[in-house]
Every structure is written in structure tokens, then in C-alpha cells.
Symmetry: C2
Subunit: 447 residues, 2 copies
Amino acid sequence: MNRHFAEHAWLTDGWQPDVALAIGDDGTLAAVESAADAPRLGRWVLPGIPNAHSHAFQRAMAGLAERQTDPDDSFWTWREVMYAFAGRVTPEALRDVAAMLYVEMLEAGYTSVCEFHYLHHQPDGTPYADPAAMSIALVEAARETGIGLTLLPALYMTGGLDGRPLEARQRRFGHDVDGYLRLVERLHGFDDVRVGVCFHSLRAVPAGPMRTVLESLPATLPVHLHVAEQEAEVQACLAARGTRPVEWLLDHMPVDFLWTLVHATHLTETEVRAIAARGATVALCPTTEANLGDGLFPLRDFLVAGGLWSVGSDSHVSTSPVEELRWLEYGQRLRAHRRNVAALPHLASVGESLLGHALAGGARATMQPVGALEPGQRADLLVLDEDAPELAARSAENVVDSWIFSGSRNLVREVFAGGRRVVADGRHVKRDAIAARYRRTAAALTP
Amino acid sequence: MNRHFAEHAWLTDGWQPDVALAIGDDGTLAAVESAADAPRLGRWVLPGIPNAHSHAFQRAMAGLAERQTDPDDSFWTWREVMYAFAGRVTPEALRDVAAMLYVEMLEAGYTSVCEFHYLHHQPDGTPYADPAAMSIALVEAARETGIGLTLLPALYMTGGLDGRPLEARQRRFGHDVDGYLRLVERLHGFDDVRVGVCFHSLRAVPAGPMRTVLESLPATLPVHLHVAEQEAEVQACLAARGTRPVEWLLDHMPVDFLWTLVHATHLTETEVRAIAARGATVALCPTTEANLGDGLFPLRDFLVAGGLWSVGSDSHVSTSPVEELRWLEYGQRLRAHRRNVAALPHLASVGESLLGHALAGGARATMQPVGALEPGQRADLLVLDEDAPELAARSAENVVDSWIFSGSRNLVREVFAGGRRVVADGRHVKRDAIAARYRRTAAALTP
């Protein structure tokens, strides 16, 4: 048991002064109490932020898809680059890329991550000797770095809403239902990993298999899927099924608080209200959605409807939760031509509102005991750099706003993940070794 | 004379291998030649980026205006917070805030800055004993940190397009024409500062004084003004003058390549083409324009028309040129629902296009010999961190894209400004001392 003193700790109702945090030997918070009789951790201590959506391997291609390949460059031309890159990733490479990525995430303040994982097999579609080899690479990277892992093996069966078979370059992704259920069962054997159900998208999983999977697995698992990211996807669904993708999903699947809809960019007002009413979480990925030109989520309407959301770094063109939160808000301002869009009248400020949503929604998306400093939660703590000029003369009233809206330097100084101090003085304790390994791997991966 | 070897240097036509850069004792580049016989500076060496628009004092209020003060929070409610803050800034405080800001800018890759400076007098409007005291504070901060300064003292005369007098809290900003011309003349006495003409906005400077100032000063000075940032400003100009602000400006003033129009967010297609045809530069400030909910500049149309643009950090909610460039492009993608908007067909990639424009347009806006690695230019150099995982396995073909689109860590390792190495290993050589002074000043400034 280790006790730490925070001058201010971010509890469920916001900042509280003089808080002692006791971390048990199992890596969870044993006690959170009003007291000052422990070694000082820092002036500003917050819960670590859950990352609700990650495709780890894509980190290694950041910056490789920004050459114009087509006068109408789009998500779909980006996907060509991504497929070519995905074809070269081995289990060892995935472990090295993910470990580097998780180092970067932890340094920036993400302490848990949902891996939306669809790169299962060898490039020709043959399973590895251990069919879970690629999943296990992610588990190893999480263990090495300390990040909390919610592993979401994705079911990917078809190449379109018409049920066409997978293309050659999609064969790495594919499973039949039985193979998928065996993979999920195998992964349940890892004590330190939360496993969930994951459907890549409506175009990749027909309705029948989706139902079979849901009926075959315990109804306590988180369920994630990509939906309504692109206008073309909405149009394709209208053409094939006569309804919009979110509309179809809500009408045909038991969507509830266990579900996380990733992106959900293109929604009608009815869909916005229906998602909120079902209690599903939306995983917003502002930097990726901007990079891919997806569009802007109707955040204000969703907040007014009481919707729950989280943030994800998705393709990892950024690894900073602060950039996601800031630009989630900024996108809304640019569209509405007003300020502080995410701040609802009863909330203190837009920064606190953004942080509160990302923590609560992120905890729901990961389905882990994270996102709050409370007894029984995983001891995931961020200590801000109280000496940073950006936070000079800041009080509890405005320190979160200044963290999110003061610019580009990382202001996270120390990070505890599962009770272990994994970041000290802004650097992951294993950064140098993991970076050296990553550089060799990147050289082998990059065309 | 010092010679340095760059494995790759960013010259006017892009990356060139094996370049030797000779820096003269006067801080300019004496020679740029194909050679490798000098101590190695690094793998990737670029020109420093000019910052085309800064109000230094606003850096100290980053994060203080993100609380919802009004259900229709806007630029205009933000301005109330800014006025209150501006009222407390002394010359000493301005020097300390600007020095800290310039440290942050240099670390992030800005090596010169246009200070659009309107905080001239004591809070009640009385000039300081030295009427240039506030301007000199900025000069001192630039000298202390090494950043190149283009000082743009702003003329501010009226509180609206109807010619109403300044409000009490605007009195610090005000000059009559004679007082303004004396200030400009005084500042011309500083050898190491480029001085320009600056009109705060159409609402602050009537047409007559604008013409008088232009006729009284050499027609070789840069001219900057804020224009068309907000829809309300366009509507007010239509009501008062029967034309839109940019339309009015182009019809009534000798706008040419010496002029920089700051923001120019709300334009008609005719205005877009006319600005480009006149050769004026537009200073875009994406992070501030997002923070204030201004809107999105019509970048693609302006590029097609051959327009020249630069970036500025303006209110300093970010101090990173990379964030400005990335989000300039991302804003366009979010609006157009496509990718790589700023990449014109003849340019290699969107990252290189963004960087090339920011350098060329920034040099024009500052009217200094900066923005290129050429003999006679100020020796402003950035050395990227070649060991950064983000740049692992990157080649000349994609390193700029990966710098701009790989996330949030600062990848600038060393910076030379005016021939002096001011940033080593990512930190300004005076950061600690300047930060200590800044923290005391921030405590005195912040309510």
C-alpha cells in the first residue's frame, strides 16, 4: 500500500483540495480521503483518460498518406494506403509498434485503451500457428508499457453491404462465426485484459452473424463497431437496406449501454436522440475524423439529449487526448460561429465539461473500472506539471481550461497506470528501449 | 564564420542532400553550397518559420476565456475578458510575457514574429514617460530570446465604423495621427527591428487618417490590418459603408504586395480573387480562428487564384506552427469532406505545400530576409529530431508530412535564430530563467 497526497485531486464533482490517495498492492485505489499526511504527489492530480478507439498498427504510417494520390483524395484513397501498409505487419512488428504507441499515449495522459483489432491472420489469410498471435502481440505491448487494455477483436466477414466476399488484401481480417467465437474465448483466458465484442462495420458483418455472435457470448461484454463515418457509407446503406446505418442498427440490434458506436458522424436528429436514449456511447476521434475529412459530429444536439461520449485516437495522427478534446470543441465552434459549445449551462467551463465527458464516456467504452479517482478503481493517475509556464497562476477554477486550451506542449509530468509509476518527468520509464526497438521495426515496415 | 553540414536541407525547390551552410558573423547565411566538409548539424534542416501575427500579451490569458459567460458565447464575449486582462499589463509585465512566449515560439520552430501591437499607453490613456515604453518592452523580449521582430504599432482611433470615440477601456490603444507617426519614427531608430504600419481594423481607423498615415510614411513599409474576421463585422461594414470590408479596402486603399490582411475569413469569390490579384498576403491564424469561432478561410479558392498566405499564432492558444498548419488543412477537409485540400496537383504533398506557403507568405508578411536557406538571409534554422520515433524510417519524400501530421510532440531539436543557437535539445537556452521571471509576473497579472 502506497499513500500519496494531492493538493488538488479531480474527483467526480470536480477539484477537491487536500486529498490522500492510497494505492493497494493490486494496483487499484484502496482509499480516497480528505487528508494531507502522505508524501506529496503534486498540485494537480487527475484520473488517467481512457482512449476509446485505437488501431495500433496505423501509428507507424502517420504522415505516409498525405501525398495527393487523386484529385478527389478522400477516405477511400487513404484506405488504399492503409491496406498496403497493413499487409506488411507481422506479430512482432505489431508488438513493437503498439508498445511505442502506448508509451506515447501514456506520456500524453491516456492510461487505458480500446484496441479495435482486425489484423488477425497472415497476409494470404492463413491463420498463424496460434490464431491469436496478433491479439497476443497487443497484450504483450500493453503489459510491457502498463496501459490498461480492452481488446476488441473485430469480426470482418464481407467486403460490402451486398455480402460480397473479402478482397485479397482483406483476407487478413476475415473470420467465420465459429473461428471468431474461438478467438474471443481464447482471449478470455487473459486475466489482465478486458475482452469485448467487435463488429468492424455493417459492410463487414451481415445481420445474421451479428445476431449469432451476440447470442453466443455473455450479454455483459462491451460491443463496439464503426458506423456512419462517411456520407458514402450512409448512401450505400440506404441503397442496400432502405435505411440509414444508425437507424438500421437501432432497429435491428439490441443496442444499449454496453455498445459503443465509433464515429457516428452523419446522423439525423432522430438518430442523435435515439442513441442517447438507448444509453450507448459514441467514440469520437476528432483528429482522425479531420484527417480523413469525415465531417463533424452533432455534439451540441447529442449533449442536450443527454448522450455519453468518449474520445479515441483511432489512426493516431495525434496521440494526445488534449488535442482530441480541444479540436472536438473547435470543430463545433467553426461550424456554429460561436464559442464554448460543449459547455452546458450547469457545467463550470468547457474544459471541465470536455474532460468530464471523456472520463465518464471513456470508462463506459472500455468497460473497465477507470475514469474516476474512487476506491476500487484502477489506480490510473495523471500529475500535471505545476511548474509549466502554461499553468502559472492558474487556480482550480481554470487549470483544466488552461491545460486543454493553452497550446501544444504536453503538460503531463507523471503518470501512474494500474498503480505503477510509468511516466516520470514527462517520459515513460521504458521509452528509450522501446523506441530503439521501434526504429528498427519501422525501417522494416516502411516501403 | 561557422560552417555546418546538413544531410538534407530544405531549399527553395524542396529537400537537397549534402548541403553546407555557412553563417557569417552578422548572423546571416554567407553561403549555401553542395558540400559535406563541415561539422554535422543533423539529418533534416529547414528554414525557421515566420509567425505573421501575434498579440504577445494574450499568451498569459490562454485558458482564461473558456468559461461560458453567456448562452451565446462568442468572439464578442471573449473580447470582454481580453479587455479586462489588457488593462493590467505594464511594460515590465509585457516584456516578461513576451519573452516567455518567444521562448515557446522558438522551441516550436517560429524564428521571427510580427507583433501587431496596440497596448500603447497607461490604463487611463496617458502616455508613458517614454511613449514607446510598451513597444520597447517587445523589442527587449525579442533581443533577449533571439527571435526576429517585425514590430507593427497599431493605430487605433475610433470605437466603431461610425467614428464613435474610444471606450474607457480602449484608451490604452489610442493615438491621433501625429502621435502615431512620432511613435513609428521613434521605433525606426532600432537597427535590429523591422517596423511596419498597422491599422487595427476598419472600425478603429477612419479612411482619412488611414490615407494620411500611408502618405506620410515611406511606401516600402509592410502594412497589416485585421479584416473580415467576424460575420458581424461584415454586416456592420455593409450597413455603414454599403460595401463589405475587404471590398471597401481594395476599392479605397493602395493594397499591394506590401499589405498583409489578417484573417480575411469571410470573403466572396470576387474578394478572394482580388486579394490574390493585388499580391497581398493573408495571415491565417487557424487555432485562434477556431477558438473564437470565426469560421474557415476559403483556402482552396485562394490557392487556385495564386494567393499568398502565412500563419500566425495570434492569441497564442497554441504556440506551434505545426498545429496551425495541420489544422488549417484539417478545417478545409472537414468542410469539403475530402483530403489533402491544400495540395495542388503540381506540388509533392500537402505537408510540403503547407510548409512552402507558410515560409514564402511569412517572409512577405514580416518583410524580413527570412523563410529560405539562401545567402543573405537571416540564419534562422530548424533541426528536426532525427531520433524521434515519429520520424523513424522517413525519407525526404515524406518527412515533412510526418512532421506535420504525426501528432503532438514537438519534433524540433535545435534552432538557430539570426545565426545563434538559441534552442538545444528542444529547450531554449534561457528557458529556465525566463520561466522563473514569467511565473512571478503571471501571478501579479492574473485575477
